[in-house]
Symmetry: none
Subunit: 414 residues, 2 copies
Amino acid sequence: MKAEILTIGDELLIGNTINTNAAWIAQKLNLIGIDVLHHLTLSDEKIDIINSIENALNTVDIIVITGGLGPTNDDITKYVLTDYFGGKLVFNEAAFQNIERLFAHRKKWINEATKKVAYLPDNCIPIQNKMGTAAGMLFTKDNKTIVSMPGVPYEMKAMMSDDFIPYLQKKYELPTILHKHILTAGVGETEIAEKLESFEHNLSKYLKLAYLPSLGSVKLRLTAKGNTAEKLQKIINDATEEIQSKLNEWIFGYDDETLESVIGKKLQSKNLMLGTAESCTGGMLAHKITSVAGSSAYFKGSIISYANEIKEDILGVQKKTLAKYGAVSEETVSEMLLGALKQLDVNIAVAISGIAGPDGGTKEKPVGTVFIGIANKEKQLIKKFSFYKNRAINIELSSVFALVQLRKFLNEYY
Amino acid sequence: MKAEILTIGDELLIGNTINTNAAWIAQKLNLIGIDVLHHLTLSDEKIDIINSIENALNTVDIIVITGGLGPTNDDITKYVLTDYFGGKLVFNEAAFQNIERLFAHRKKWINEATKKVAYLPDNCIPIQNKMGTAAGMLFTKDNKTIVSMPGVPYEMKAMMSDDFIPYLQKKYELPTILHKHILTAGVGETEIAEKLESFEHNLSKYLKLAYLPSLGSVKLRLTAKGNTAEKLQKIINDATEEIQSKLNEWIFGYDDETLESVIGKKLQSKNLMLGTAESCTGGMLAHKITSVAGSSAYFKGSIISYANEIKEDILGVQKKTLAKYGAVSEETVSEMLLGALKQLDVNIAVAISGIAGPDGGTKEKPVGTVFIGIANKEKQLIKKFSFYKNRAINIELSSVFALVQLRKFLNEYY
């Protein structure tokens, strides 16, 4: 079964609202084995809505429409659909009671504009709106299904989950689809593609592999599609194992995990406390670490030593080290590590010093030069990186690679 | 002039990636007077790409395509476009040098898959990629323009801003559109709407006002559209002045300014050094401050005292204060401020302590309770906030409101 998602609304079209609805709906449809061929965003224009539905009916079985169901004059979706499917608007008692219930709760009176919302086409199956006033509408045409729902995300989500998804599962015989995400960091897309060349060449016909890169990390997505869940699960498991054997050093987790959460689990299981000393990242690393709920169990804190005085006064970096090697050097990072271990009284420390840019670069140390160090009381591991010319990207990459280095250090020594 | 945005990629279609590119591109096109009729998301399928381009060419003048330019086998956009516009792929020396530059810098060797990226159609104007390997491509057909860019947001954004937008402005006669952004923080959308009710009621027909809310701040966008720039500029100036008079206390800047950059300018002009002491925000405030290029001129650093021991050992918060009032209290924040001023040796300190959640809340201090303090050597200003149940939102709001408070403090005393 194939579907198209039509999201109607000027706020989306002009880019003031990011279209999170389309992504959410697509995920839900995929989970029950429905392929989404297109997301189309369009304005509240009658002719455009009708053309888009006609186009979609040529290629898909299911059309999911959101938006344009409100009480204001620019909301025309209901009227267009009623016309298009040859019905007429009639007063719907259940929809009106729903509005009364909502307004009683909100202690507001019902005006004429709101009453209009209770009129629904007589040729649709109404979907009552538990979270708002505008009902959803289900139309059918030649065994195809067209649903129209409000654009308000929580209203739409309740209708999808409680009504529309179960309706589709009952109406159509749907295939089984399984997904597995394999998470890598510290390696580029092309290097992975090389390692997986033979694997991709011999990919089972039930299986698809996708690369989802972001700054410093690449997510691999395996999708298996077929009939029997057990068979697909075995295909996914085997493929995951093969990828694991080829990319082992770079894989840090699966599915919903993050570098931060994986590191957190490891630290907690080993009863280790972590602290950081940041210069060019200015708090970004600590922010990433503390974005994980419960991170206080293993993270004590950080010294953001943006100025050299803080490196000296609080972290105890020697004036002569700074003078001789500069703030961005292996030697300074080494002393920052010692200072962080001592001052924060932690088992593991991470230290970062670099030139985020746009200014501050030299011939020897251009913008993007970053030293990242990890240490415990016995060992230090410091590495030099050469990132880019862009400040925000350098800050992000330095933080991600600090986590990559930290994970390696933990895996090697703990 | 009308445009359609085609975003190509399975990860968008299945909803794993939210389509932020389409919204960003739509905004940029709108800013130069180009109407966006559709956003269409489709998969890496030849026939689908071609049909979508043909459809779009029937209704719009400009097609903006992103995605499918990577080195892997599922990336087919370049091959489809080369075919469709009747060209052939030739080795592009500039594109190859760009790849060499990127890889030399990263000290990696260039493999065959990457070399393929340097082949470009001979019937396009290449757009070199400053941030990555895959070049963009500009095609023309009957005075219509079709551009293809990578799906990686920062690569696409650089090409749009530096190359494609200037190209469009030169090629087409676009209406004059002037924008003015008025930036507010620390106040909600409805409160602003109330203050601006009469202003909006009497809005000039050349003028539009939009509310662009984000966490803790609301950007107001004035758009004037017409023919003569001077007339529009006067309309915008008058409107800005009127809004300024109504919302003065909440307006912190205009256009590309940020709270961080405005505060930075003020600190620098008054020769003040800033330091922070963060608990629940875990480095987010320092990260925001240091996201401004040149912030080392006025920001010395931060103590991220996530654990109480750090509050005691480094910031000098008294054990009895923590025991009696708790870490999340006015008293603790007051002592954090004293500690930050002293240990970081700064003129102004900001301290934050709160319960980000999801755990750690009590009846008296539920999740979302945050104390934010600002101090110099003479004065302290500490305020209690009650935010939400969501960890990420609480961290963001705490950081934004710390900046709002800091700006107030600076305006009042300096």
